[in-house]
Symmetry: C2
Subunit: 119 residues, 2 copies
DNA sequence: CAAACATCTGAACAACTGCTCACATGTTAG
DNA sequence: CTAACATGTGAGCAGTTGTTCAGATGTTTG
């Protein structure tokens, strides 16, 4: 990110140095965009429920649909989103496709969020 | 959440016990909704940038706007969202309002997300 | 009080999201 | 191969979201 050229308001509230430091340590726009995209994936009740359902065990699409009381199609659409964000992984066994959490990050991120919600 | 009554697909992929356990340990719908709402707040580039800008120091609205190169109005709207989710806190000093991260949860949640993005 | 300044807010609009529906794909059993 | 089943996918639609614009609120100074 480039340092802004104009000061419309009279002063930089803290020290200009601090502000420059903030800018220096701020990740690039692309990274911040990716980060927002990641959280966006967690930002939907249906997807959160799916992830929670997979906390204990891997499940097939149909079971998730029943578990959450939503359409199989809706689940499939959301699993696609979750998979492309590498939050879940798929394993095919015959006609059935089993989904599971991709790694422990998912658990940790959700746990941190839950801490805030329950606080 | 109530246990689903009908099985459209022939079997519960793992053990029925496991599925029941998942349901038993799954937080209530309200909690899951709140959790999704929280992540939704993180799921926007502008808000993520604002939070990151506040990582090092408290800043006033005008400075944030300059720092990120966006309208003061847009910043104000987003700060409102961040504040009502208790992610930032405000402190008034004369005409100026300083914003800062509400607590360490915010840092931790973002850090966890960043881990996943950079992985 | 009036003027200047920083911030907040409501309305309106364009862009995006998640669901449903219909159908496509892929796999197994007969 | 065909039928049955589990899952995947594209189009369309209703609801939501973030921005801009104009103006309101609140604070300090003179």
């Amino acid at each position: 990110m480039e340092f802004p050229e104009i000061e419309r308001c009279g002063f930089l509230c803290v020290h200009e140095d601090t502000v420059k430091q903030v800018l220096a340590e701020m990740p690039g726009d692309e990274t911040l965009y990716d980060l927002a995209e990641l959280f966006k994936v967690f930002g939907d009740s249906t997807r959160i429920k799916i992830l929670y359902a997979l906390f204990e065990a891997e499940l097939c699409v149909c079971d998730i649909a029943q578990l959450l009381g939503i359409t199989q199609s809706a689940v499939s659409h959301q699993l696609r989103v979750l998979k492309s964000s590498r939050l879940v992984k798929a394993r095919r066994d015959g006609k059935t496709v089993f989904y599971a959490l991709a790694d422990d990050h998912v658990r940790k991120i959700i746990a941190q969020g839950m801490d805030h919600v329950l606080e």
